[in-house]
Subunit: 344 residues, 2 copies
C-alpha cells in the first residue's frame, strides 16, 4: 500500500487529519467548552465549575535519555510538563494518571525513584496521583501522563484571545533548557561542562518549573491569551497568532536570555532563546495598561515578566510573526514549531 | 548496577512498589474518594458530582498486531476498553484524551481510519475526544487513552464491597475473545478459520462491547462490587476477593461459555472462559434476592447475567478462590491474573 506517511505530513498535519476523521459528535457537544487544539481541553460537568484536562508523554530516546537524566528528575519533569499546560490556562492542577510503557528490564529501584520525583512535583503543586496503567513496551520506555485541573471561577486562558495593541510577554528567561540540552550533548571533558553554570542550565532542562501561580495571576489580571513555551518562542507564538487570527512583532533585543546562556553559547544564545524548547515559561498577551500592574504582582509570585513585542492586525496573507533582529531589520518568521516527525 | 527488575517482580508487584514510592500527600487528599487500584479513580471536584477517571493503553506487538486487526477495529477497541472501566463502576463516560506514539512510518490514511473507529465508539457511547498528544515512538506504535466519566448521583461501584452470601455473577458469555485470538494465531488454511463462527469470535476479540447500560443497572440495583473482565475470570475475581477481604467459590458447570467457543475448541474452551482475557463482560457480586430482579432488567438492556458462585467468609489463609470443577471436585485456584511482565 502506498500513501502519505506521518513523516510526510508531519505532526501538525497529522493532528489536523485525525481531528477531521472524528465525526462532529465525537469532537464536541454538551458541556465541552474547548476541545482539541489548546494547552488543555475545558469542559463543564453537569454541575459545578469547569475543568481542564491535558495529556503529554515522554518517550525514551525522543524526549529523554536515561544516560542524561537521573530518575528523580525524569519523574518530576513528566508530571511538571503536564502541570505546565494547566498553569498556562490559569487553572489549578488536581489529579494525575500515569501510564508507563516498560520493557521489563528496568530496575525497580530506578522506577520507584522516578515515582519519588513524580511525588515531589505532585506534593509541590497539590496534585494527587489517582491511577494509571503499566504496559509492556518492548523497545523503549515511555511515560504518559494525564492531568486534570480545575478552573478558577469557571474562567481560563486560551490561545485565541490576543488582540491588536496587546503586548506580547514572557515570564522568566528563555534558552536555559536548550542550553542545558546542548551541554548534555557535549563531551564530558569540554570546559563548558565543568562550570557551575552548566549545572544550573542542565537543571533547567531536567527539572522545569511550571508557572502555576503566575498562570493564576494572568487569568485574574486580564491577560488575553496564554500558553506555555514547550516548542520554542517562535513556533509557540505562531500558535497564539494563528489561533487569535492576528499578527505579532517581536523585538529580539527585548527577549530575556539568561546570562549563563549568553556566557556559554556566544553564537547560539539567541537561537536557543527563540527556537529552543522546554523552558516552560509562560507566553502571554495583555493590554499595555494591565501589563504594568502585572509586573509588580508577578514579582510577588517569584516570576518576572518581560514585554518583547506587540500584537498587530493580521496582514493580507493572514497571521504573521514579524521579528526585528538586533540590527533593527524586520523579517517575517515562518519556520513553525518543532515538529517531532518532519525534522527527523 | 544490580537489583530487581520489573520482570523479576511482575506487573502487580511493580504497581504496589510505585504506589508506595509516592508520598502520602500525592496519593490522596481533599476530594479524592478512590485512588490507585480500582477500575477507575473517583474524585469529587469542589462543587458537583463525583467523577471517574481511567487510563488504558494498547501497544503494538503486545496488545495488538497490525496484521491481525483492521484500523477501524483498533481505534474502536482502544476507546472501548477504557469506556469499559467506567462502565464497570456504573458511570457515564464523557471525555477522552488520546495520546499516540508513532514511528512516523504509519500511513496517514490508516491512522485516520483508526480515528474513525475511535469516533464510532465515541458517538455510540456519548464520549467526546477533547485532546491528546502525538509523540514519536521509534520502535512500535502505541495508543494511550484516558477517559473521564461522571458518576450517577455521586455513587459508583468498586471492587471492595463483596459480602459473604452474595452471588458471584457475570454478564454475557466468556471465552469468545480468547477464542478469537486463538483463531488469529492459527494458520489461515486451518479448517476452523473458514467458519462463519470464526468471524464472530475474531470480532469479539477485535471489537469488544463495553457494558455501559448494564453497569448503570448494577449500580442502581444494589450490586456490592463490580469490575470488567479484562485479564480473565480467575485473575479478575481474585482482585475482587482480595479488595473485599472475602473468599469466593465458583462452580465451573455454571460458567456461561459461548456455544461457538465450545464447538471450535473442545479441549480448551473452559480454559478460555476462565483464564482468557479481554471479554470486557462485567463480573459482579450481589445479594441473592436482588439478583433475581436484576436478571429481568438486564435482559432489557441486552445483557444476560448468570450466577456462577458465591462469596463466603475468607479462610484462615485469607481471601481464596475455590473452584468446583466439572466432576464436582473443589480446589483452590491461585494463579492470579495475567501478568504482562512475568510470563514473557
Amino acid at each position: 500500500m502506498t500513501g502519505r506517511t506521518v513523516r510526510d505530513i508531519g505532526e501538525f498535519g497529522l493532528i489536523k487529519a485525525l481531528r477531521e476523521a472524528l465525526p462532529s459528535g465525537a469532537r464536541g457537544g454538551r458541556g465541552i467548552e474547548l476541545g482539541i487544539g489548546d494547552d488543555a481541553a475545558a469542559w463543564r460537568p453537569s454541575e459545578g465549575e469547569s475543568e481542564l484536562v491535558t495529556t503529554d508523554s515522554l518517550v525514551e530516546g525522543v524526549h529523554f535519555r536515561l544516560e542524561w537524566t537521573d530518575w528523580l528528575s525524569l519523574g518530576y519533569k513528566a508530571l511538571a510538563v503536564n502541570i505546565s499546560d494547566i498553569a498556562a490556562m490559569g487553572g489549578v492542577p488536581r489529579l494525575a494518571l500515569i501510564s508507563l510503557g516498560l520493557t521489563g528490564d528496568e530496575q525497580v529501584a530506578n522506577l520507584t525513584e522516578m515515582y519519588q520525583g513524580i511525588g515531589d512535583a505532585a506534593v509541590r503543586f497539590g496534585v494527587v496521583v489517582v491511577g494509571g496503567d503499566v504496559v509492556r513496551s518492548p523497545e523503549e520506555m515511555a511515560i504518559h501522563v494525564t492531568v486534570i485541573g480545575e478552573t478558577r471561577g469557571g474562567q481560563y486562558l486560551t490561545r485565541s484571545g490576543a488582540r491588536p495593541g496587546d503586548l506580547i510577554s514572557v515570564s522568566g528567561t528563555l534558552g536555559a533548557a536548550a542550553a542545558g540540552l546542548a551541554l548534555l550533548q557535549l563531551s564530558l571533558d569540554d570546559a563548558r561542562r565543568q562550570t557551575t553554570t552548566a549545572e544550573v542550565l542542565i537543571g533547567a532542562h531536567l527539572r522545569p518549573e511550571p508557572r502555576v501561580d503566575l498562570g493564576a495571576l494572568l487569568l485574574k489580571s486580564g491577560a488575553t491569551a496564554a500558553m506555555d513555551l514547550s516548542d520554542g518562542l517562535y513556533g509557540d507564538l505562531q500558535k497564539i497568532l494563528s489561533a487569535s487570527d492576528v499578527s505579532g512583532s517581536v523585538d529580539l533585543a527585548l527577549v530575556p536570555v539568561a546570562a549563563a546562556v549568553r556566557a556559554l553559547f556566544k553564537d547560539e544564545y539567541l537561537a536557543m532563546a527563540t527556537r529552543g524548547g522546554e523552558d516552560y515559561e509562560l507566553l502571554f498577551t495583555i493590554s499595555p495598561d494591565l501589563f504594568e500592574e502585572i509586573g509588580r504582582e508577578a514579582d510577588a509570585v517569584g516570576a518576572q515578566v518581560t514585554a518583547i513585542g506587540e500584537v498587530v492586525e493580521k496582514s493580507a496573507d493572514g497571521p504573521e510573526l514579524i521579528v526585528r533582529d538586533m540590527e533593527g531589520v524586520e523579517r517575517v518568521e515562518n519556520t513553525g514549531a518543532f515538529d517531532h516527525f518532519r525534522r527527523v
